[in-house]
């Protein structure tokens, strides 16, 4: 069974981000890049499925500039068998739909039985690419998956998705798309052997032309990026606890009208 995992490389959440001279993008100098945390859950789940079945292949795929190789290398170190890098300036202003179309073209070439994604990428937070991939491929999709089990005989996957108020369990015929939610698993750390082994594994560069890609304008574009407007300065309420609490309640009622 072949499993494809889509991973996005994102700025480490603790690093500062600033708008660059071009107000539509951030200044990337000094940024540390990581694999989006939800995508790590997806990679981990793919590896567990393979290990449980004792066979199969896990392929990591990412779209982005040259630096993305580092994220793919980390996936290989975790245990993925090989990686595919969609690496072409043609995709530099991709919106979610263009991203999904490019990834869908690779999925069609690779014909996996399962496509795992993260719930959402933690930089641009669209939570859209996986659902759009499912649409383009005509596959069923379970989002925010907390548990899954493959049934090889019936060629289905049973997945529990998180919804407001509970979990909903579905059987999806394979091939299918699942998006990983926190709680699905605890991602492993790469071992030293994994890291050494990753150096010998393949990362295939794919250009737009390799996919027969006709240039396509994005349907959605960033107009500008702005820093947050500063919040008005706050107030530390002084005094002993009973006094401070009384003043807080009074302020919440009379000034802030929040209660």
């Amino acid at each position: 069974m072949r499993i494809l995992v889509a991973v996005k490389q994102v700025p480490d959440t603790a690093t500062q981000v600033k708008v660059s001279a071009d107000p539509r993008v951030i200044d990337t100098t000094g940024i540390t890049w990581i694999i989006s945390p939800y995508d790590e859950f997806a990679v981990e789940e793919a590896l567990r499925i393979k290990e449980k079945r004792g066979q199969g292949e896990v392929v990591a795929v990412s779209l982005g500039p040259e630096r993305v190789k580092e994220a793919l290398r980390a996936c290989l170190a975790m245990g993925c068998d090989r990686a595919i890098h969609l690496n072409d300036p043609a995709w530099s202003d991709a919106d979610t739909l263009v991203t999904a179309k490019a990834l869908a073209a690779v999925v069609r070439q690779e014909a996996p039985q399962l496509l795992l994604c993260g719930r959402q990428a933690i930089d641009d937070d669209m939570g859209a690419v996986a659902a759009q991939l499912a649409e383009l491929l005509g596959w069923p999709c379970a989002y925010w998956v907390m548990e899954e089990a493959i049934d090889a005989d019936t060629k289905t996957v049973r997945a529990a998705r998180q919804v407001e108020g509970g979990l909903e369990v579905f059987d999806l015929p394979l091939p299918a798309v699942l998006t990983a939610q926190k709680g699905l698993n605890e991602p492993r750390y790469p071992t030293l052997r994994g890291i050494m082994g990753a150096k010998k594994k393949e990362i295939r560069d794919v250009k737009a032309a390799d996919l027969g890609w006709a240039p396509e304008p994005p349907q959605l574009s960033v107009v500008t990026l702005e820093a947050l407007p500063p919040r008005p300065p706050g107030r530390i309420i002084q005094g002993d606890v009973p006094t401070a609490v009384k003043e807080l309640v009074r302020s919440l009622r009379e000034e802030a009208k929040a209660i």
Binding site: Y38, A128, A131, P140, Q162
Partner: protein, 326 residues
């Protein structure tokens, strides 16, 4: 109506639209100068629900009522909605941010071949185009985005937009388009309900109390729950508390948890790490209680108390009780 702004209805699965729809319809009506229409896919609508949508300002309700729409499956919903959209050509399609509406909007945009802006916090018309504002990079920056063509598909963050006032007696035409519902590949097995806390849903609550590592253990959350019952709040947690196993993950607030935007957020023993702030910084009023005066949460708090939360919480519950009994 030409150039209508569609509002995809999120309901309680028992035939009543959720109150977040007052915000979605209110904003759609504002941006479009009164051209909001509701589109309701459900297995069972109620008359009261239809009236409610009209009172909030929907000039028309497209009611797609069919057993196949519950439980929600994107394959079924998108087919039905896309067919109607192709006929009616709305100018925009808005939905509230919920787990399922997010997926639905993304898949619908792909089917229609148009752009999507998720989790928006503001809209403005710029001549003939719509510009949406959405938080990015853990809420550290705001992106303004625009579409290449209509319909403009967007999801709206709850509790950010001003809800429609609701005009009693306002009426809306109800259209019931018929047509075959698309077949589903996904088969429903079961729904497992969460043990109800009896408190409001985290993402919908107007007041949220959040307990961090400073709560010192799972047994102490009961003091926040007591306060929550007094003021009608939800109780959330930081990742440190969730990772320690004190609270289930569905209560986590932050970048890898839920994004909330209540009228009032109160953090107890939460330090205010950037990833926590990502999930609550659009709250209208922020209160922090922490014994460390240097805790970063004080930098974004409107009101702070530097003290031991175990002294503050019971006192605060008592004062809230007094206030609300008046």
């Amino acid at each position: 109506m030409p150039n209508a702004f569609w509002c995809i209805v999120e309901d309680d699965r028992r035939g009543t639209p959720k109150k977040v729809m007052a915000e979605v319809i209110g904003e759609a009506a504002r941006v479009s100068s009164g051209r909001a229409e509701a589109v309701w896919l459900t297995d069972k609508a109620s008359e009261a629900g239809l009236t409610q949508l009209a009172e909030w300002g929907a000039t028309k309700v497209w009611l797609l009522e069919n057993g196949a729409f519950a439980p929600y499956r994107s394959e079924v919903w998108v087919g039905a909605a896309a067919e109607l959209a192709a006929k009616e050509r709305p100018r925009a399609i808005f939905a509230p941010v919920t787990s399922r509406a997010r997926e639905f909007a993304a898949r619908l945009a792909a089917r229609l071949g148009v752009g999507l802006a998720a989790d928006c916090v503001a809209f403005a018309m710029d001549g003939e185009r719509l510009v949406a504002t959405r938080p990015v990079y853990a809420g550290k920056l705001l992106a303004k985005v625009a579409w290449a063509k209509t319909p403009w598909v967007a999801t709206l963050r709850p509790n950010v937009f001003r809800p429609a006032d609701g005009e009693p007696g306002r009426k809306a035409a109800v259209e019931r388009p018929s047509g075959p519902t698309p077949a589903a590949q996904m088969k429903f097995v079961e729904r497992r309900e969460e043990v109800s806390t009896g408190l409001p849903e985290l993402t919908e609550a107007e007041i949220v109390l959040s307990g961090g590592r400073g709560m010192k253990g799972p047994e102490h959350y009961v003091i926040l729950e007591d306060m929550a019952r007094v003021i009608g709040a939800a109780v959330g947690a930081s990742r440190a508390a969730v990772d320690a196993g004190w609270r289930p993950h569905r209560f986590q607030i932050g970048q890898t948890g839920r994004t909330i935007s209540p009228k009032l957020y109160m953090g107890f023993g939460v330090s205010g790490a950037i990833q926590h702030l990502a999930g609550m910084r659009t709250s209208k009023v922020i209160v922090a209680v922490n014994k460390d005066p240097e805790a970063p949460i004080f930098r974004i708090a409107d009101y702070g108390i530097v003290a031991d939360l175990f002294e503050v919480v019971p006192e605060l519950t008592k004062e809230f009780k007094k206030l609300l009994e008046k």
